[in-house]
């Protein structure tokens, strides 16, 4: 998986990670709570996000290519108007199911906005900072430590897997069907044994450096209210849009 972080030094990048995580979650909750017939609300959410992209100096093209991760859900959304039941309406001369079209729109709009928010969060915050943000949001220390070590060793394990794949191909391995998959599976087994044994070595190395079962606290600097207010401003605007959309 490609790393999504775009190192930069903009106000959006400088915000503390915990503020950004809360803001992203709140914004997506607003999007998901919006009644699907309020089409204009989704346009406003997109405009809000575009403003954040301008501040964070993220080119729309960068976002657009990475939003392709949503393709399976787009396919689902486009299929729904044709397969769902209910009253039919004519769109461009084709009869489609009205509830199906609305449901497809619902999944398409909310899912896409959700991915765009996630991409914005990942682009402006380094993986390490995201974990720090979770820690400051009171996620248990052990979960944080595991996540930190996972991120740190992910590249090592993934590279190991790549080298094993290269070695297999050098020996003439060319599986094309599921029933030829034995060698790949044996490779995964070997990868597990190597990962586990590396874990044992990492543990011993940590113990010899004074590991007692918890990472030393890196010290928390309290986040000021103005920072929270600035970071949550886009989410607050999204909440205003939601309020207007829920207005009868």
């Amino acid at each position: 998986m490609p790393l999504l972080h775009r190192p930069d030094d903009t106000p959006a990048h400088r915000l503390p990670p915990q503020v950004k995580i809360v803001a992203a979650l709140a914004a997506v909750l607003c999007v998901v709570s919006t009644p699907r017939e309020r089409f204009w609300a989704f346009g406003l959410y997109l405009a809000l996000l575009s403003a954040v992209w301008v501040i964070a100096r993220i080119p729309p093209r960068w976002i657009a290519t990475r939003a392709l991760i949503e393709v399976p859900f787009v396919v689902l959304a486009l299929a729904l108007p044709f397969v769902a039941g209910g009253p039919r309406v004519e769109v461009l001369g084709v009869a489609v199911s009205e509830p199906g079209a609305l449901a497809g729109w619902n999944i398409l709009a909310k899912g896409t906005l959700g991915v765009l928010v996630s991409l914005t969060l990942a682009a402006t915050t380094s993986p390490r900072d995201l974990i720090v943000g979770l820690h400051r949001l009171r996620v248990p220390t052990m979960v944080i430590t595991i996540a930190t070590l996972m991120l740190r060793y992910l590249e090592v394990i993934a590279d190991e897997a790549k080298r094993m794949r290269t070695a297999r191909i050098c020996r003439g391995h060319d599986p094309r069907f599921l029933w030829q998959v034995g060698a790949t599976a044996r490779g995964i087994g070997t990868l597990f044994v190597r990962s586990y044994e590396r874990g044992e070595r990492v543990h011993l190395a940590m113990v010899s450096r004074g590991w007692t079962g918890a990472m030393p606290d890196s010290g928390r600097t309290p986040t000021s209210r103005t920072t929270w207010a600035a970071g949550l401003a886009p989410a607050a605007l999204a909440a205003v849009v939601l309020g207007a959309a829920l207005w009868p």
Partner: protein, 233 residues
């Protein structure tokens, strides 16, 4: 290399009260798994679980062919449960899902609770329960272990799909017949589960051949060493 596509539920598939409900359920489940994992691994928990989580993450990057042009990858829930136990397994898969959502934008933020509940909690526990129920059979030999791992991975995948059906029944779009959604989702996941089962079974067999002591499912089933005295000839 094809474009990576989302495997996990996106935002908007279920409404926000349901999303919040399952975020709560997932938080409780992960807390329980973390407490039990600590009992399994003590002060080794963090490094071991960290490396196992990195392994689960890395295996999801390894594509294997299904048909020419179509490739899939392992989800790894049942594999982790059989190799490192249900608690460490569920904890590792949960952390993988959280990092995928935050760092790699895979899976919606509001759907994170539902994704963790389905894949890390329901799937892992269901797969492991099946494996435990068949544990005595699995200890009989290599082919029995392979069969048990296959069934556990299949059940894991289908149970995770049933979790989605449950969430959709609570907070999904009322425009669809639940039966149709259930049939489609479960049908697709039976196919995925067969592939998952084959890979899981072969992988478990490979680990059991090299380091049977690392297979959590086989713990306590090793036959004691038998000393045979040869009578002096």
């Amino acid at each position: 290399m094809t474009t990576p596509v989302a495997m996990h539920m996106s935002d908007g598939l279920v409404n926000s009260p349901t999303a919040l409900l399952f975020i709560g359920i997932a938080a409780v489940g992960v807390a329980v798994a973390a407490a039990k994992a600590r009992a399994d691994l003590d002060d080794r928990t963090a490094p071991m679980a960290g490396l196992v989580a990195a392994f689960v993450f890395a295996t999801q990057m390894i594509n294997f062919p299904v048909l020419p042009g179509v490739s899939g990858h392992l989800l790894g829930g049942a594999l982790a449960a059989i190799l490192v136990g249900p608690w460490v397994g569920a904890l590792c898969v949960s952390i993988v899902l959280v990092v995928q959502a935050l760092v790699f934008a895979d899976g919606g933020l509001t759907a994170l609770g539902a994704n963790v509940t389905n894949m890390a909690l329901i799937g892992t526990v269901a797969g492991f329960l099946v494996a435990v129920a068949l544990r005595r059979f699995a200890a009989r030999g290599k082919s029995a272990l392979v069969a048990v791992a296959f069934i556990a991975a299949l059940v894991n995948t289908v149970a995770a799909a049933l979790g989605f059906v449950l969430e959709f029944a609570i907070g999904g779009d009322a425009a669809f017949s639940l039966g149709g959604v259930a049939a489609t989702v479960v049908g697709v996941h039976v196919l995925i589960g067969v592939g998952e089962g084959i890979i899981t079974a072969l992988t478990v067999a490979a680990v059991a051949a090299v380091r049977p002591d690392l297979v959590y499912l086989l713990r306590g089933t090793q036959r004691p060493l038998e000393l045979r005295e040869r009578s002096a000839a």
